[in-house]
Symmetry: C2
Subunit: 235 residues, 2 copies
């Protein structure tokens, strides 16, 4: 079996990517990060999904991005509420990358994935990046991913010695959220286990998704467009 | 003052790079990593040097590369002893990259530097990479560094929005270790504060450099070729 490292946040995109990689026959190594995110609850989702999908190993790397800051997700700003509903308004808002952007996050995540892939001798690194229904983060765009791949193949002992050529695989890159949800559903993925919300709300001692942040917005829209019911309850 | 992030391990190259960046007039932000290295004592050196050179801030990021493994520096193998003395033998040995290579280490370090640089609005990231008197690590070579720079400028909100263009600066890239030591000395750098050894040895309750690892080898050779005395005492 060919090995692959899969970045797994526990959201819809990364969970579907893992289900897809499993279906394609890879031996899957899931990698998650406890980086000081305010929606740390996503790690519980990632653990459930990694276990349910039978990954070979699930590694959670810990570091504190709050020391670097610069993001609403690490507590420097409030998570903004998405107050617009139409696609046109949404597109207009995307002129600015939202404050939920975390500086160089995917670069840091992919760098750890590269290190692990080299040790495992895994040529493939899967990432659930999406450039259609997304927040406009620069490190989700195809040109970024391919630049990372080029760099990765100059960075490592295994690639320089000709033993491995690393490939970044982003199978969801050009899919809409609705298409992603339909794909995952066809793969038997239980979306009730996933977590998307950036800004969890406590209600009767339980954390619920806010339903109003960027990430909830795309999730809710995706289920709606897929003609399916989102199994999560919102605050 | 233009800001710069400087990767600082506390060794000769990174300390000289910091002294150089200070001399060039940058406002310096030093970045070090506590990553499970067996020569963790280098962090004490980095702290002394950061303080002495008056950096604006010194940040130490913590994560555990031992979970990923694959390196003598994180305890998976013994640190090999350099048993050859001539340049020819040294060059022959460099056909293989030594086991002190840490998978994707500079990629991880530069990724955190990029995140911090973006938050600080610092266009420059200094790294003490050297491709002359070095262990053959792939992530010290110029082609790698420029590929990282290309990727970095596609990765970040600040670069995509046109506010910053990141530049990786490696002023020591083509210098011999002797040239580096002479440069640092001319900048007033006190090399007694630096730490190079991969494999510290305890002697009378004190940690001393081994004098036999790859890193000690280049240090000792550098001082010898510079016609100077290494201020460190070896085990």
């Amino acid at each position: 079996m060919v090995k692959a490292v899969i970045l797994l946040s526990g959201g819809i995109d990364s969970s579907t990517t893992l289900a897809f990689a499993k279906r394609e026959g890879y031996e899957c190594y899931a990698l998650s990060f406890d980086y000081g995110q305010r929606h740390r609850i996503e790690l519980e989702a990632s653990q459930k999904i990694a276990q349910l999908l039978g990954v070979k190993r699930h590694l959670i790397i810990r570091f504190d991005m709050r020391e670097i800051g610069g993001s609403a997700l690490t507590g420097d700003f409030e998570v903004p509420t998405v107050t617009f509903a139409t696609k046109k308004e949404r597109l207009q808002s995307q002129i600015e990358i939202p404050v939920t952007y975390v500086p160089a996050r995917n670069t840091i995540f992919l760098s750890f994935a590269l290190a692990w892939a080299e040790v495992l001798e895994a040529p493939y690194i899967f990432i659930g990046a999406n450039a259609i229904d997304y927040s406009g983060y620069p490190d989700c765009r195809p040109e970024y991913l391919w630049a990372f791949e080029d760099m990765a193949n100059l960075a490592t002992k295994a690639s320089v010695e000709g033993r491995l050529r690393f490939e970044i695989k982003a199978p969801l890159l050009y899919m809409t959220k609705a298409e992603i949800i339909r794909l995952g559903t066809s793969l038997g993925l239980d979306y009730s286990l996933t977590w998307s919300c950036y800004n969890p709300q406590e209600k009767a001692g339980k954390l619920l998704p806010c339903g109003r942040c960027d990430s909830c917005y795309f999730r809710i829209k995706g289920f709606k467009q897929a003609g399916m019911e989102d199994p999560l309850h919102y605050a």
